[in-house]
Amino acid sequence: QKEVEQDPGPLSVPEGAIVSLNCTYSNSAFQYFMWYRQYSRKGPELLMYTYSSGNKEDGRFTAQVDKSSKYISLFIRDSQPSDSATYLCAMSPPLYSSASKIIFGSGTRLSIRP
């Protein structure tokens, strides 16, 4: 079993729709959760990070963490064609620990249709 599971998609939605992207994980030591966006032929770009259960909002993006279910989500409101990219979830054990390496999901390819 992989430490982090993510549905690879592809996911195609119309412009303006709400998008829900999800990951599950098995390692209860993960305490720090991140979402990265990766455009074609580019490096991953950090979108959001959180270290607690609950919701964190940043503009059109909301990150949600449920540690009891080992489940994290990223919601995109009012999706735009420019949001078309691969979205990677990532997580790590507590910061400032020698075990703190960042593990990535396989990524979900998202396409927003104009």
Partner: protein, 113 residues
């Protein structure tokens, strides 16, 4: 703030040849990572440095891959000899300290023919 710099952007080599990639992290970042990203997959950690010491290299194929981070700043990743399955994008990332947000470079796309 300047980002993570990587070079070259693209490289095509024949199998059994050697190749080296270079990374300059964000100034002041103590932790440096090398990831391998095969098409359609998420990045896989190859090696993690804290300053100039290795923290994790458990997934580095040490018979052919090597990496160093001299003076705790720049880093090089070398493959010798390359195999066809090494075709991937090699991403360098850095963070202020252990864990936390990592910032990525553009990557080096390696094709082994």
């Amino acid at each position: 703030e300047a980002g993570v710099a990587q070079s070259p952007r693209y490289k095509i080599i024949e199998k059994r040849q050697s190749v080296a990639f270079w990374c300059n992290p964000i100034s002041g970042h103590a932790t440096l990572y090398w990831y391998q990203q095969i098409l359609g997959q998420g990045p896989k950690l190859l090696i993690q440095f804290q300053n100039n010491g290795v923290v994790d290299d458990s997934q580095l194929p040490k018979d052919r891959f090597s990496a160093e981070r001299l003076k705790g700043v720049d880093s090089t990743l070398k493959i010798q000899p390359a195999k066809l399955e090494d075709s991937a994008v090699y991403l360098c990332a850095s963070s202020l300290d252990y864990g936390g947000e990592a910032f990525f470079g553009q990557g080096t796309r390696l094709t082994v023919v």
